[in-house]
């Protein structure tokens, strides 16, 4: 057992050495962000040293530590995979699409006045099912392969950028919303006793409180940041995603990872109204109401206590003020300064889709070529 387990750690060290060799090869794109490449090499080197230290520590020779050493092995295995999946593959697959997105995200960061962070690496290693995702710890955003040829999903890139801003400026962005959430649920828990409601509601409220504080505040905030930056187009893109959720009867459902689509839409519309997009909100709400009636998804019990409008409004106000504090430019301010920022093209795309759907594909192609020319 001892020599077997020791051998496994030697094998892990060997795997890391091979990955490091590959990162030193001349086939790596010269366009890849140098600090990202270097950090990946550093992380691999640190893991390599951790294994070497463990091998020489003598811990692997102690039979009664076998279970602990297996846990160490499994954890190191996950750490290697983590680097492989979220950094190594990004580097190895860095190609023309990534170069295009690099220019595009640099332009967007300029338009939104984001100087407190370097633009993240955009990788196309995702797929249509996994859609857009961000890994804030590694400063990467993944978009589906081929996404450089689309415009209608791109507002979600701003949501993922929101995750990167949130990881840096959470306190500025959310204000004192956690206090309000806690106060709301504590009041509800007290009411369970005073109004002799079912005791199971206490667990229900405690669970929702934890979800709000740990995950939902972040998700709502990223929606609100995207709305602040890209305006009505974000609501339309969100409605597109909701169409898929409705197929699983999930419009009103929350999960530990996400608030309900319905509540997200309410928060987005509240902020759009505050930003002065009143006419667009009337149009969005009309479509949204018809959508809710057509899909007729079931509303869970006590739904009003899960996403009260007051909490959504307060969070929207806080995020709006937070974005101002960190000096991000609103959608309207981007237009005032740049006339044709990327965010405007995305709003035009939705307008075009509604007004001339037959011409949309041709229009989209020509717009993307126009952006390409601008980025050269």
């Amino acid at each position: 057992m001892i020599s077997f387990l020791k051998g496994l750690f030697f094998d892990q060290a060997s795997k890391i050495s091979k990955m490091m060799e590959e990162l030193d090869a001349s086939t790596i794109s010269p366009e890849i962000d140098e600090p990202f490449l270097q950090k990946t090499k550093d992380l691999l080197h640190e893991l390599f040293q951790e294994i070497q230290h463990l091998i020489s520590s003598g811990d692997l020779d102690i039979e009664s530590l076998a279970s602990n050493n297996i846990i160490r092995y499994n954890t190191i295995h996950e750490k290697i995979l983590n680097i492989e999946l979220f950094r190594f593959l990004v580097i190895i697959n860095y190609d023309e699409a990534e170069v295009y997105f690099k220019k595009k995200i640099t332009k967007i960061y300029d338009e939104i006045n984001c100087f407190f962070q370097n633009p993240p690496i955009i990788t196309t290693i995702s797929n249509s099912d996994d859609y857009f995702w961000a890994f804030p710890g590694y400063d990467i955003i993944a978009v589906p392969n081929g996404e450089q040829r689309n415009l209608l999903n791109l507002p979600d890139l701003y949501h993922e950028m929101g995750h990167l801003f949130f990881s840096q400026y959470e306190k500025f962005l959310i204000g004192k919303i956690n206090r309000s959430i806690e106060a709301f649920y504590n009041r509800e828990i007290i009411r369970v006793d005073s109004e002799q409601r079912a005791q199971t509601l206490k667990t229900f409220y405690r669970e929702k409180l934890v979800r709000w504080a740990s995950v939902w505040v972040m998700e709502f905030s990223c929606d609100l940041i995207a709305t602040y930056l890209v305006g009505p187009a974000y609501a339309w893109t969100n409605l597109k995603i909701c169409t898929l959720s409705s197929g699983h009867s999930s419009i009103y459902n929350d999960s530990a990872k996400h608030p309900s689509d319905e509540a997200r839409m309410r928060a987005i519309c509240y902020l759009l109204n505050k930003m002065g997009h009143t006419a667009e909100v009337i149009e969005i709400n009309a479509s949204w109401d018809r959508f809710l009636k057509a899909t007729n998804n079931p509303i869970p019990a006590n739904y009003a206590d899960i996403f009260p409008q007051d909490l959504l409004n307060e969070l929207a106000e806080n995020v709006f003020e937070g974005c101002k504090k960190i000096d991000l430019r609103t959608y309207a301010d981007q237009i005032a300064k740049y006339d044709q920022p990327i965010s405007r093209v995305l709003n035009d795309a939705w307008t075009k889709l509604f007004t001339s759907p037959d011409d949309f594909a041709t229009w989209e192609r020509s717009k993307i070529e126009e952006i390409n020319t601008l980025l050269r």
Partner: protein, 147 residues
């Protein structure tokens, strides 16, 4: 939008907990071994510094206290366990029927520097097994979220 952003945060929190608790249990196991003279001859590199002991004691006391709160008081907040898995974690712990009665004694042993017994180490190993399963399961979700 996939769940990678959320899962990566929560996974990192759990890895930090799993590493810290595992290292602390290793420290206590080494001290248990060091109590036997024959082990010192068998493993010449075996040693535990005062700093390692203090760190392990601090980590395990806080970790065990938190488990007790989760099990006794329906506490759903934890600095050790991410919110996404806390209910599942509680459920897995509840399958160890003797844990509830053994925890107060174990906390007392660890926090007051009383010698750790073999039966205490078995409980700590059980708790590590639960953490290990939760961590692996969360990592699988993170990988799946990436596609």
């Amino acid at each position: 939008m996939s769940d990678v952003s959320i899962l990566s945060n929560q996974y990192n929190q759990l890895v930090a907990t799993s590493d810290k608790v595992n290292n602390s249990v290793i420290t206590f196991k080494k001290e248990h071994l060091l109590a036997d003279e024959s082990n010192r001859r068998k493993y010449p590199k075996l040693a535990v510094s005062a700093e390692e002991h203090a760190e392990a004691k601090k980590t395990l006391t806080a970790f065990l206290d938190n488990i007790k709160k989760i099990m006794d008081e329906n506490e759903l907040k934890s600095d050790f366990i991410p919110s996404l898995i806390i209910l599942d974690y509680k459920d897995r712990l509840s399958k160890y029927h003797d844990l509830n009665s053994a925890l107060p004694n174990l906390i007392n042993q660890v926090s007051n520097d009383k010698p750790i017994q073999s039966k205490d180490l078995i409980i700590l190993d059980d708790l590590l097994t639960v953490l290990d399963s939760e961590r692996s399961s969360l990592f699988r979700k993170l990988r799946k979220g990436r596609g």
